[in-house]
Amino acid sequence: MTAVLEVDRLTKHFTFRRGLFGGEGAVRAVDGVTFSLAQGETLALVGESGCGKSTVARLVLRLTEPTSGTIHLRGEDVTRMAGEKLRRARRNVQLVFQDPFASLNPRMTARQIVAEPMINYGAVDDAAFGRRIETLFDCVGLARHQWDRFPHEFSGGQRQRLGIARALALNPAVLVADEPVAALDVSIQAQILNLLADLKRDLGLAYLFISHDLSVVEFISTTVAVMYLGTIVEIASRDAFFKNPRHPYARALLDSVPVTHPSRRGRRALLQGEIPSASALPSGCRFRTRCPMATAICAERLPPLEEKASGHRVACHHVERQTSAPAD
């Protein structure tokens, strides 16, 4: 499988001044993130607020300039692309937002919203154009009589469908979905997750799926990358990750997911403390301040992201390399 999106040592530091006479400080929002995404895959970026997952999305979309590192889209280096070339490359990667209402123009009808990206890329409103719009509305499950409605006339789930139709309008290779179901009601989440799964299969898309919800991630993803303070601490196939999470942070994150039945209460060790500030990172391993396994070496050296089992990479000094997965 060839990668449609390749990200190599991607880094974004935001600089700021410490007070009037202070020196420059830096928030290391994303620090050396590497992954690749093939057609038909869903890579889930998982982590808590401030871990840098949304910044990665913005970098991939070229909405923020990276400090260093490279982004390849369908084999083409888009990292420093600008002007017309960037515009052309960009139609291959589209975004689905968390809050569909905030990302839809309230003065445009559903049809205009979906048509706009195509018109921006030079399409003319002819018969073929009309058929394309019809296909898009069909794909996301919106009926014909809803075409002329405005965003406020739709429910939350329907707005998200509209947002997805707009993202698909240009036939992108990659869809970046930043918490696409987090703002939706429980009974609507399942509809949108099923829709995203169907679209990926039918249209051969690849998803970069950003979420804090591990149950959603297990349903939708093929690969999982866990981020903590700007770095990937563990990356593996979905099944390997959920069967045998290796990094202490990934384990803690899974243990924090609320139970599915009251009889399972209280069977876990909770993570203590809170995520440190990204402008004052701990030395060595960034997770060591909350880690139950931390020792002296963790304060001295940042553990590299290493292959600990086939296709399962973990950044931790205390995770042993193994050839076969043990029973947990």
């Binding site: 808590e48 429980v186 009974s187 799964a197 997911v257 139970v259 876990r268 993570l271």
Partner: protein, 337 residues
């Protein structure tokens, strides 16, 4: 059952729209005993937050109580005037919200805000009030409490602010705590910490808790009993174990089936499709007559055009449905198939 701390009977709340008053909460009755947690579960617009605000008597302008009784330890809150309410709120009755930043005063230190409440209700010296605040900070596990008392809200993280709110709410050992989605805005690792702490404090202080959430996982973590709301009405009310083992209302069962579950918790393989509830929640101005869930319900018949009564299917298991399902719940990703 012991004498309930809170007993709400036939509560009706409506809000003003351009077409007159629109009912949001309809004939809601709940009881909560000391040391018990009742979860109000439902999706946006189901009336769960307005119920809490009605109990607090803090309904915003444009919302009103149309009828019903709200008894807190023998006092009917619905009949109290504002000065009397001020003596009850903060002392017998406290509330915490989803976003603590909006309910903390940004220009007062945390310590001042806690001691202010204590001194409003009890004749204690400032030193004693401060000592109480310190003790509370230890209870809600705020690290370095002495220094944090002098901090302003913006200097704290979201999780810390919620701990402060809980400390403040519990300062006068209230009989009832209303918690409106208190962990929804927090990260999962912090949510787990806060839920564990709330369960411990409830056991220690014996406060009754009405906990509002949309998240069935949180319900499984914290509830003793659960009331499921749909379009302003309680459709099912029972203890937490029978809700998860034997939910009978088609809406409750639909919710249970539609949420993705971790395979490691549910057992079995990952599903490749989630079970959907078709359609969407009706707008409050367009709630269908009869059973409000019937247009989305697979078991609906002509009978559902008439409003179902809340019938006890088992002792303390109320279901408002003409066609309750009684077989064991099949959950997504596991359970019995």
């Amino acid at each position: 059952m012991q004498q309930p701390v809170l007993s709400v009977e036939q509560l009706n709340v409506s809000v003003q729209t351009t077409n007159g008053w629109c009912p949001i909460v309809r004939d809601l009755s709940i009881e909560v005993a000391a040391g018990e947690t009742l979860c109000l579960v439902g999706e946006s617009g189901c009336g769960k937050s307005l119920t809490a605000l009605a109990i607090m008597r803090l309904l915003p302008r444009g919302a009103r109580i149309d009828g019903g009784r709200i008894r807190l330890g023998g006092v009917d809150l619905a009949a109290l005037d504002e000065p009397a309410l001020r003596n009850v709120r903060g002392r017998d009755l406290a509330m915490i919200f989803q976003e603590p930043m909006t309910s903390l005063n940004p220009v007062m230190t945390i310590g001042e805000q806690i001691t202010e409440g204590v001194q409003r209700h009890e004749s204690v010296s400032s030193a004693a009030a401060r000592a109480r605040a310190l003790e509370l900070f230890n209870k809600v596990r705020i690290p370095d409490p002495q220094r944090r008392l002098a901090a302003y809200p913006h200097q704290l993280s979201g999780g810390m602010r919620q701990r402060v709110m809980i400390a403040m709410a519990l300062a006068c050992r209230p009989k009832l705590l209303l918690a409106d989605e208190p962990t929804t805005a927090l990260d999962v690792t912090i949510q787990a910490q806060i839920l564990e702490m709330m369960a411990e404090l409830r056991a220690e202080i014996g406060t009754a808790i009405v906990f509002i959430t949309h998240d069935l996982g949180v319900v499984a973590e914290i509830a003793d009993r659960v009331a499921v709301l749909y379009a302003g009405k309680i459709v099912e009310q029972t203890d937490v174990v029978s809700l998860f083992d034997n939910a009978c209302h088609p809406y409750t069962r639909g919710l249970m089936r539609s949420i993705p579950r971790l395979s490691r918790q549910a057992g079995g393989a990952v599903v490749d499709r989630l079970t959907e509830i078709k359609g969407t929640v009706p707008a409050p101005t367009a709630v269908p007559a009869g059973c409000a869930f019937s247009p989305r319900c697979a078991s609906a018949t002509e009978q559902c055009a008439a409003e179902p009564f809340a019938e006890p299917l088992a002792p303390s298991h109320l279901v408002a449905c003409w066609h309750p399902e009684t077989a064991t719940v099949t959950a997504n990703a596991g359970g019995a198939r």
